[in-house]
Symmetry: C2
Amino acid sequence: MNTVKDFQILINEAVARLDFPLQPVELYEPITYIMSIGGKRMRPVLLLMACELFGGDAGQAVQPALAIEVFHNFSLVHDDIMDKAPLRRGKATVHEKWNQNIAILSGDVMLVEAYKLMMQVDDHLLRPVLNIFSNTAVGVCEGQQFDMNFEQTIHVSNEEYLNMIRLKTAVLLGCALKIGALIGGASEQDAELLCQFGERLGVAFQLQDDILDVYGNPEKFGKQVGGDIIANKKTYLLIKALELAQDKQANQLNYWLNAGDFANAEKVNAVTRIYNDLNIKAHAEQAMQQCTDEAFEALSKIQLSDERKQYLRDFADSLMVREN
Amino acid sequence: MNTVKDFQILINEAVARLDFPLQPVELYEPITYIMSIGGKRMRPVLLLMACELFGGDAGQAVQPALAIEVFHNFSLVHDDIMDKAPLRRGKATVHEKWNQNIAILSGDVMLVEAYKLMMQVDDHLLRPVLNIFSNTAVGVCEGQQFDMNFEQTIHVSNEEYLNMIRLKTAVLLGCALKIGALIGGASEQDAELLCQFGERLGVAFQLQDDILDVYGNPEKFGKQVGGDIIANKKTYLLIKALELAQDKQANQLNYWLNAGDFANAEKVNAVTRIYNDLNIKAHAEQAMQQCTDEAFEALSKIQLSDERKQYLRDFADSLMVREN
């Protein structure tokens, strides 16, 4: 098996080779820009990895892997408009660097280009691969809509929240693994199990992010600890706290959720204290553990050698113990 | 052959049967809304017509025809955001009725849904049909970008203008005809000729629109005559006038293009007088005639009975003598 690093190199080279028309420059420059500022390219790596796990040649799966990355970047460009985000990976977002119309339209072209790249599979895989991809694409859009809705909604259940993060972030991981597995020659059943593995792990990963945002080591976490608390972001932790808090704790929590003027550190400390009193971290860790268990349960059913399953377990572990 | 009316009924019924998930309602309601406010559904009709012309069963082509209509509506929803248009077909645009984020995201889903519908063709057509569709989709986005660029550009040539309207409006007509022809069993060569026929006719149709905006009968045209002149819209007529005007005429034209405060009727009359002096209407009609000739030239090369070609000629004539 190639290493994650090897797969990343394959993808980086393919991104560098992406060749768009010169005109209209306003349409294609943003695509080259957003693709070049990178990130870890975890999704296309997963596709290549899945392909090789089932005995396929990762080199033959580079274009579909690139499709996943182009799609992911399309969703970032449009989400950044909706979220009015000025920065992405430390650089100006497309709508900031150019303008909103250009961000809408170059995003649209990226979605089409993702389909063109995804079509570069053997004929017998074309229909199943595109079906998976289309259903995933719709799911990602649904996830973004639910996420925006939740900002305006007073009561969100953790069931709704888990479904939202599944759609918004996890289904694309599952999709990458499933398509890679099919290209590598996996049976439909094994490909679907690997999809489940990725999806459950993706949800666990997001829950870990929610936990780290409150309980992470600020030096290792890389983001401001307590950012979600300051912004009243409806994470698993806040939703659980709202569900469990009673009487005085409920009043305190609502006080901080509605406070207009506050010192950030004071709010973070006060809300964290409520979380501690309610044992919220343990609840969130339990939910995360359940997702991880489900992921490994799916993995255990796949027809693959123990050595290859270990490769996936190690990879999953490397994601789950991150920076804490 | 079925009539245009028959094809419209087929499409209207299929639109009415379109069934989207209930949740998130903010994502799917706008799609049902924009699809239901209709228009003439000329593009899907063209697809069904082309299918039947080559002996296919139009009933088998309804889903791909619907794909063309969903794609067209996706492009309208996103274009309306970019153009800040409050109305579409006399009703509130999606970003006005809901909000901009919803318009971006439901547009995105429509593009994916268009692919899902377009995939409902026989296996042997899946790849060629999706290639045509993807290339057309990119072309439509390029056309919209060129159109936005031209608003900010002082010098636009008529060659650039003709390419822009070809991309923005004509390629989708050609795409509909080509895909319909392939589904109907046409050879690749005949399908491509029919594509050319539709594309050239589409450009001619847009040029006719430019002419009617200045010279149309206000009672029959249905839009404000002179609207393009009032808005300084870079149409074939204005670009040609800027190319031909010299000395006093050039000064007058520039005066009106830069006038900040004017009575609409006065500007329309003055610019129309310059157009008349420069014989602009005849130039535009010549360009339109050339496109129509090219369309019929392509049609003449198609392996179809004279009777069927006559059907297409009659249809084209019905478009080209419209309301004037």
